[in-house]
Structures are given as structure tokens and as C-alpha cells.
């Protein structure tokens, strides 16, 4: 299935792209995606997951909804979903 990944701010700097669309296996979770990204981009290594949970240093939005309102890192994805990965929203 295809998942669109959007990156903001310092996460975008680490990836070097605004957004990418990637193929994942069925039953993929947010945790799986973050793990793949950590392995693929050295600047993200250790930044996205903390003991299998979404690290406090980032915010993950699933189709615009904070994953804390879903199943956190265990949130399951379906074809066409969108994940936005951003540093925590501070300031303003």
C-alpha cells in the first residue's frame, strides 16, 4: 500500500524532501514507518522512536490527527494514508 510521508522543519532538513510516497506492507503501523525512516536517514537515527513509542522530540499526525488520539505508535495504516512528521509545535 502507498503511504504519503510529509516532513516539516528540522525533520525535513534531515530527509531533504518535503514529502515522499512509499510502498509499505499491509498492517504497517506508525512504529514501522518511523523505524524504516530511522534506518534510512542517519540524521533521524534515534530521533523518532523511544522504546518503540513515538519520541517526545517529535509529533506525528495521521491524516492530520495527532496519533496520541489514535493508538500512538501502534496506529495501523491503510492505503492512501498520510503521515506528517514534525518537531513539537512550540512558540507562537
Amino acid at each position: 500500500m502507498n503511504i504519503e510521508l510529509r516532513f516539516f522543519a528540522t525533520v525535513r532538513e534531515a530527509v531533504g524532501e518535503r514529502a515522499i510516497t512509499r510502498k509499505f506492507e499491509a498492517d504497517t503501523t506508525v512504529r514501522d514507518v518511523l523505524s524504516v525512516l530511522e534506518g534510512e536517514y542517519s540524521a533521524l537515527d534515534g530521533m523518532l522512536l523511544d522504546d518503540g513509542e513515538v519520541a517526545s522530540s517529535i509529533t506525528v499526525l495521521h491524516n492530520g490527527v495527532h496519533v496520541t488520539h489514535l493508538d500512538g505508535s501502534g496506529t495501523e495504516l491503510v492505503d492512501g494514508d498520510r503521515l506528517a512528521i514534525t518537531p513539537p509545535v512550540t512558540g507562537g
Binding site: A9, T10, R18, S57, T59, L61, G64, G92
Partner: protein
């Protein structure tokens, strides 16, 4: 009760009587320092003590008090913040407005923790403050000048360059535009006391600017603040990386992704991603940022300069997130160069970008709905970017329909058909900033109960964006109240909010208790320091209840927030219907110890040691 004032305080309050030019110096009561701490707490006390409760904000009896806090000019990072306190021409209630730069640190070294302007000068003046006191000087040659020009002219006149730290009103302040701001141009960055109309209050006093020159006072903390500051640097820098790189404009993309970023006067709350990208912090950094700027003693450097070389616009201040909301998304203008230009215009003329933008967006919707005559003014169509720039001039000079816009959206609505009230976005007379009153439950009750009305620095949105109390009302009233304690405490410390939230935490915690204890030598618990914030917030409420502007009827939200759910996007369906607000208000008042009408009870006043303030207000 404290018997002596800790040496981290300069120890004096400077009263300046503009009518005569005379000054008097008052010693800070050590017990007031313990109760109110500094900054926000100190200016609240000055407003309560000196402004009659029936005084109009433009009466000479209103004061403009400017205070710093106990940790200013110490080793602690990001504490060069000043707080202005006054009765607001928008809300008719107590207002505190903060700003950064170098002036607050300079004020601290004069030994005057608080400077209070009383009365009204006969002619246009500026006030020069040194450690020896104050001098009221003629500024007649500065009439009509923009803010940056004024700062430069006063620096030139005083002959000490950037060692004269200036906070100035633009033409908007002189013309009493109700949301006129004050701008401080320092060597390191610009600081703006943006909200509530401090520029208009200064203008009503015939004061064009306040200038401060450094003195010899150095605060002497009781504990080792330097070691504690060094220990905190790692986390502070790590947790403010977004601000360091993008400033607050970095919020545009994620908040739009959540579907909580108002568009077209809140007719919807999410724009196309291309539009958001165009005005995002990422785009501004990539294409327009030329250098990072900073307040005194702050390594975060969240300030930025931006330039549009092709148009000869260089080293303008970067638009903040709130500005991008008010002057871009609310207008359906997604051109970064216009956003930069409008922001620069507002800074030069001395206009609050939030109230200006939201007022124009309100007028544009009224125009769209036929509530304003077709020929009343040009530039009242959404998407008119050039028109927005033109309107800044008309508002600041009160020309044509600009004179109506200068009154703010609430007063404009009162002059129109009743239907206009359906398109307001604010409360207690103050327009809301970017953080959605519909999409963040904590902001719904937070705005409704805010001392300042539509302020995002009473209840903060930060933790809500991280999933706390954004979509539930369970426990949210208490959450909003306790964050109000947090902000009142932080503004009494005069610590930068952005840095404190990132580096110290978004709630009152042991970091704050330790810092205050180290600075003052008082052995305070977390509960003790939160109670300071609670006390200051209740003093603000006492002022506003005495003025008759804060009760259950005025603790409310605008029509659209209570009746029109967000129409589409990830936050579709969210709003705060009246019965939900009523439930949260009841819970909020009970938690606070206020009566059913939202007034602090006698027991609460006694618990918070505010009997003397309640007594003073009863006789004002």
C-alpha cells in the same frame, strides 16, 4: 513575610508625572516582591493602585507601567523581557503586553524594577530614563514619524547609539488606533509589545517613546544561577531547535495540517498544502531569511531578518506565526512577499498585526455579506493583497474607512446590523490570534476566561498541540486555569515564554521553583510558585470585575465558535456549543474559588493574600 528585599531586585519604583515632569521614587515593599514577584505581578499592582475603576483607557488617570523581573540581567537565558501594564483601549480591562530586546536588561541596571507613567504631557514628548531618574523631553519634531525613524532619531539625539534603548509608538499610537503597538529597535533585534493597544495609551499621554540608558546596578542572586543555567542549556537548545531555525513561522505547516488554522475570517480552517507551504517558516528560511537575531542573553535566536532584494526591502523583521494568520490566511493571501511587506508596514506604523488582520478580515466578510456599503471603502475583498498594505496606512492615519477599522472589530460591529456579530472572532473586545478557538478545547475555555480576552498568552496552546486537552473537555477547565497560573508566573519572572516552554516545561514545575528560590533565596515549593501565578491572575480578575467587564456574561465566545462547527478537514465538526462552554465555566469557577458569576469570593481573596488590593479597588 519577607523583611528585606533580596539583592536580585533593584528595589525601586520610578513614578513619572507627565503633566509636570516631576518624578518620585518609591521603595519596593519586600512583601510585594514575595507576593507578586515582578513583571506582570508588579504592573498589576500599579494599575490596581493608581487607575480609578471608572477611568477611560484614554484618560490621563490611566497609567502605563513597565516592569522587569527578578532574573533579568542574571545568568539565566532569555530573561530580557519587559512587561507593560495598562487599561486597554480595546477591552477596557487590565492588560499586560510583553516585549524582548535589550531595553528590559537596560532597565534592570537602572535599579528601577518598575517605571510608571502618570497623567498626560502638554506637548509631544519622549521620556529618558537613567539610573538617576527620568527626564521628559520634547518630541514635537517626531510627530507623525514611524517607529524605526523615531528610535533612530532619539538615539541620534542622545548621542550614545544603541546604548540608548528605545521603545516607540508610530503614527498609529499618536492617532490612538485602539490596537496600536510599541516597537523597540535594539542592536540585536526588534521587540514588539504587540497586543492590547499600549501604543494608543502612550499616544494618549502625548508620549512618543520611552528611552532607557544603562546604569550600574547588577542583580545579585542568592544562589548559583550560573551553574543552574549551564546545566539547562543542553535541553533548552535541543527543545527549541524549531524556533532557532524557523522562528514561530515554523508553525504554519503543522497547524494547517491539523486543520486548525483559520482561513477567510474562519469560514474554514485548512488551506491547500501549496498555500501553506508558500508562507511557511520553511519557505521563508529558504528564500528570504538573511540572518538570525536575538534578545539580550539568549542563545536561541528565534528572531530573523528577511529581505526582498528585488524590491529594496532589506532586514525586515520576519512575520511571526500570528501575523501570518492575521494578514495572510485570514485574508486568503498566500504570497510570502506580501506577508513580509504587510508585517513591515505594521511594524513601521505601529499596528498590532493580529488585531489589524482580524479586524480587516471581519470587515471583508461583512462586505461580502452586504453589511457594508459597496462604496464605503476600496480593498474590502478577500485576496486583495495590495489593498491590505493600503489599509495599513489608512488605519494608522485614521483616513476614510480606516478610521472605523482603527476602532477594532467589536466597535465596528456595534455600528453595523446585528448580523455582523456572527462574523466576529474574539472576546472581551480583543481579536483572537491563530490558535483555534474551535479546534482546541483548552483554548475555548482559555480564551473565554482570559483576563485579556483573545490572548494566547493567558492559556497557552502549546501542550494542546501535543495532544493534551485539545479534543476533550474532561478536566480542561482546570487545565486552562493552571496554565493561566503558569503564564502569569512566567510573565512575572519576565522569562521568554517560548524558551521556558521548550527548555523548562509548559507547566509550573520544579524548574521554576528552583529558579525563583535560587534567585531570591526564598525556599519555595512548586505549589508556592504556582500560587504566585494564581495570585497575579486573581488580582487581574479583581481589577476587571471592579471595572464591570468580567463576569459570566462576558466570559463567552463569539457566535461562530459556539454555533458553526469547523466545516471540513481533520478537525471537522469541532466547535464549542454554548452548553459545553457553560459546563466548563462552572467547573472553572469552582476550581478557582469564584462565585457563580465569576467573581473571586472573599475566601479566595483571603487565601491569596489579596485583601489589601480588593480594598484599594473598592475605593477607586
Amino acid at each position: 513575610m519577607s523583611e528585606t528585599l533580596p539583592p536580585v531586585y533593584g528595589g525601586e519604583i520610578l513614578h513619572i508625572h507627565l503633566d509636570t515632569g516631576e518624578t518620585e521614587i518609591e521603595a519596593i515593599d519586600p512583601d510585594d516582591a514575595r507576593r507578586f514577584l515582578g513583571g506582570n505581578g508588579f504592573v498589576s499592582k500599579q494599575v490596581a493602585a493608581h487607575v480609578p475603576v471608572d477611568a477611560d483607557p484614554f484618560d490621563p488617570e490611566n497609567v502605563l507601567a513597565m516592569a522587569v523581573g527578578p532574573m533579568n540581567a542574571t545568568a539565566f537565558q532569555s530573561t530580557s523581557r519587559g512587561v507593560l501594564g495598562f487599561i486597554s483601549p480595546l477591552t477596557d480591562g487590565f492588560f499586560d503586553s510583553t516585549f524582548g530586546g535589550t531595553l528590559p536588561r537596560a532597565q534592570k541596571t537602572t535599579g528601577f524594577e518598575v517605571i510608571v507613567l502618570h497623567g498626560r504631557a502638554e506637548e509631544l514628548t519622549y521620556v529618558l530614563i537613567t539610573e538617576d531618574g527620568a527626564e521628559v523631553k520634547s518630541a514635537e519634531n517626531l510627530a507623525g514619524q514611524e517607529t524605526y525613524e523615531t528610535c533612530q532619531a532619539i538615539r541620534d539625539r542622545e548621542g550614545t547609539g544603541y546604548d540608548t534603548h528605545v521603545l516607540a509608538a508610530g503614527p498609529a499610537g499618536e492617532n490612538r488606533v485602539r490596537y496600536a503597538c510599541l516597537l523597540h529597535e535594539s542592536k540585536l533585534r526588534e521587540g514588539v509589545a504587540g497586543r492590547g493597544g499600549s501604543g494608543a495609551v502612550l499616544g494618549s499621554k502625548n508620549v512618543k517613546a520611552i528611552a532607557v540608558q544603562e546604569g550600574d546596578f547588577q542583580p545579585d542572586p542568592e544562589g548559583d544561577l550560573r551553574q543552574r543555567a549551564v546545566q539547562q542549556m543542553g535541553r533548552l537548545m535541543a527543545d527549541t531547535e524549531m524556533l532557532q531555525n524557523y522562528g514561530t513561522a515554523g508553525l504554519v505547516n503543522p497547524v494547517n495540517e491539523m486543520g486548525k488554522l483559520g482561513q477567510r475570517n474562519l469560514q474554514y480552517e485548512q488551506t491547500d498544502r501549496e498555500n501553506a507551504e508558500a508562507i511557511s517558516g520553511e519557505t521563508l528560511r529558504e528564500e528570504y531569511v538573511t540572518d538570525d537575531t536575538t534578545c539580550a542573553n539568549c542563545a536561541v535566536k528565534c528572531g530573523k531578518h528577511v529581505s526582498i532584494e528585488a524590491e529594496g526591502l532589506t532586514e525586515a523583521k520576519i512575520p511571526e506565526f500570528e501575523t501570518l494568520f492575521g494578514t495572510a490566511t485570514m485574508q486568503e493571501v498566500y504570497d510570502p512577499e506580501y506577508a513580509i511587506k504587510v508585517n513591515d508596514q505594521c511594524d513601521r506604523l505601529g499596528l498590532d498585526t493580529i488585531s489589524f488582520g482580524v479586524t480587516v478580515a471581519f470587515a471583508r466578510e461583512c462586505y461580502e455579506k452586504g453589511l457594508l456599503e459597496k462604496d464605503i471603502s476600496p480593498h474590502l475583498e478577500f485576496g486583495d493583497a495590495n489593498g491590505l498594505i493600503e489599509l495599513t496606512e489608512r488605519v494608522a492615519r485614521r483616513e476614510g474607512f480606516g478610521n472605523e477599522l482603527a476602532e477594532g472589530s467589536f466597535r465596528l460591529a456595534a455600528s453595523l446590523a446585528d448580523e455582523a456579530e456572527q462574523y466576529l472572532y474574539g472576546c472581551k473586545g480583543l481579536e483572537f490570534p491563530a490558535h483555534s478557538a474551535r479546534g482546541l478545547k483548552g483554548m475555548s475555555i482559555g480564551y473565554a476566561t482570559a483576563t485579556r480576552g483573545g490572548s494566547h498568552h493567558d492559556t497557552r496552546p502549546t501542550l494542546q498541540y501535543d495532544g493534551e486537552h485539545d479534543e476533550t473537555i474532561e478536566g480542561t477547565a482546570e487545565f486552562a486555569a493552571r496554565i493561566q497560573h503558569f503564564t502569569a508566573l512566567g510573565d512575572s519572572l519576565t522569562q521568554c515564554r517560548f524558551v521556558s516552554e521548550g527548555g523548562w516545561g509548559g507547566r509550573v514545575n520544579e524548574n521554576y521553583a528552583e529558579a525563583v528560590s535560587l534567585a531570591t533565596g526564598w525556599d519555595l515549593s512548586v505549589e508556592d510558585v504556582e500560587r504566585i501565578g494564581e495570585r497575579v491572575y486573581n488580582l487581574e480578575r479583581l481589577i476587571n470585575t471592579a471595572r464591570g467587564i468580567a463576569d459570566r456574561d462576558t466570559d463567552t465566545l463569539p457566535y461562530r465558535v459556539m454555533n458553526e462547527p469547523i466545516p471540513a478537514g481533520p478537525s471537522e465538526g469541532m466547535y464549542c456549543p454554548p452548553e459545553e462552554l457553560e459546563d466548563m465555566l462552572t467547573e472553572y469557577y469552582e476550581f478557582r474559588g469564584w462565585n457563580d458569576n465569576g467573581h473571586p469570593t472573599t475566601e479566595t481573596v483571603e487565601r491569596l493574600e489579596l485583601e489589601d488590593m480588593a480594598e484599594v479597588l473598592s475605593h477607586q
